[in-house]
C-alpha cells in the first residue's frame, strides 16, 4: 500500500459521507419532484447544494472504481465503511442530530471492522488468471516499506512492455 492508495480509500469514504447529506439538504430546499413537473428536476440541479452533492457522488464513484482496480472488493468495502462513522459525526456536530447509545455502539463496531481489515493484504485474487502485468503490479505493492510515501509511486512499472 502506497500513500496515494490510502488517499484514494480516504476519498471513497469522505465523498460517500459528504455527498448524500448535501443532496438531502439541497433537495429539501428545492421541494418535492413529481413526474408531472419534470422541469422541477432542472431547478433542483441548479440548486448549489444539489450540484455540489452530485459532484461529490461522481468523485465517490471515480475513487471507488480507482480502488477496485487494485484492491479486492472484500477489502475496499470494509475499509471504506469508515464513511458511516463520518456520517454520524456530521449528523451530530454539523446538523445537531441526536446520536443514540445504540448508534455509538454501531459506530464502534464499524471502526473495529475497519481496523481489522486494514491490517491485511489489499489484493488476494486473480494472481493466476490475469495478464502478467497486473499480477506484477499487485506484487509491486507489497515491496515498498510502510511510510515509503508518494516516492513509491514513482517506481517504474517493470512489466508493461509498452513503454517507449
Amino acid at each position: 500500500m502506497t500513500f496515494r492508495k490510502y488517499l484514494v480509500l480516504a476519498g471513497v469514504a469522505v465523498f460517500a459521507a459528504t455527498g448524500d447529506p448535501m443532496l438531502s439538504y439541497g433537495m429539501k430546499q428545492a421541494g418535492s419532484i413529481s413526474i408531472h413537473h419534470l422541469q422541477s428536476v432542472i431547478f433542483a440541479v441548479l440548486n448549489p447544494w444539489v450540484a455540489v452533492g452530485i459532484l461529490l457522488l461522481l468523485a465517490f464513484f471515480a475513487s471507488y472504481m480507482n480502488a477496485l482496480s487494485w484492491a479486492d472488493l472484500t477489502y475496499v468495502l470494509p475499509a471504506t465503511s469508515i464513511s458511516y462513522v463520518l456520517l454520524a459525526l456530521i449528523a451530530k456536530f454539523a446538523l445537531h442530530e441526536h446520536v443514540s447509545a445504540l448508534r455509538w455502539l454501531g459506530i464502534a463496531l464499524i471502526s473495529g471492522g475497519v481496523g481489522f481489515v486494514a491490517g491485511g493484504p489489499a489484493l488476494t485474487s486473480h494472481a493466476h488468471e490475469l495478464p502478467a502485468s497486473l499480477s506484477l503490479d499487485g506484487a509491486q505493492d507489497q515491496v515498498p516499506a510502510k511510510g515509503a510515501g508518494p516516492a513509491a509511486d514513482r517506481v517504474p512499472v517493470v512489466s508493461s512492455g509498452v513503454e517507449p
Binding site: S69, T74, L77, S81, Y84, G106, G113
Partner: protein, 126 residues
C-alpha cells in the same frame, strides 16, 4: 402484507447491489491498476478502457436497478429500517459473492471485519 413487500424490496435491492458491485469489481480488475495505466498511457486511456468494458455497463445498470428498488422499498417502509437492512445484507452478500465469483481469499480476518461492519450498520438504525 406491507411488511412482506418492504422486505421483498430490501432483498431485491441488496441482490442488485451485490450483482452491481461484483460486476464493477470484475470490470476494474480487467482494466487493471489505474495508477500504473495512467502513468503509462494517460488519463484518457484509463477513461476509454473503463467505458469500453461491458461488465462496467452491466454493473452500472444493476446499480441503477438497485436504486429504483430503494425507491420502492422507501415507499413501503421506513428509511431507518430500509437503508441499514439493505446495506447490511449487501455487505454479507458481497463477501460470499466475492469469494465465489471473484475468487478473492476471504480469510477469517475479512469475515470478522465484514460481520462487524454489517452488525454496526444494522445498529445505526437504533
Amino acid at each position: 402484507m406491507k411488511h412482506a413487500y418492504t422486505w421483498g424490496a430490501i432483498l431485491v435491492m441488496a441482490s442488485a447491489s451485490v450483482v452491481g458491485d461484483i460486476l464493477l469489481a470484475r470490470a476494474m480488475k480487467q482494466v487493471g491498476d489505474v495508477h500504473a495505466l495512467w502513468r503509462r498511457s494517460g488519463l484518457w486511456t484509463v477513461v476509454g478502457r473503463v467505458l469500453a468494458n461491458p461488465n462496467f455497463f452491466l454493473g452500472v445498470t444493476a446499480m441503477a436497478f438497485a436504486f429504483f428498488s430503494l425507491l420502492f422499498a422507501l415507499s413501503w417502509g421506513d428509511v431507518s429500517l430500509v437503508a441499514p437492512a439493505a446495506a447490511s445484507l449487501t455487505f454479507i452478500g458481497n463477501a460470499f459473492a466475492a469469494k465465489v465469483f471473484l475468487h478473492e481469499k476471504v480469510d477469517r480476518r475479512r469475515w470478522i471485519a465484514t460481520a462487524l461492519v454489517a452488525t454496526g450498520v444494522a445498529l445505526l438504525a437504533g
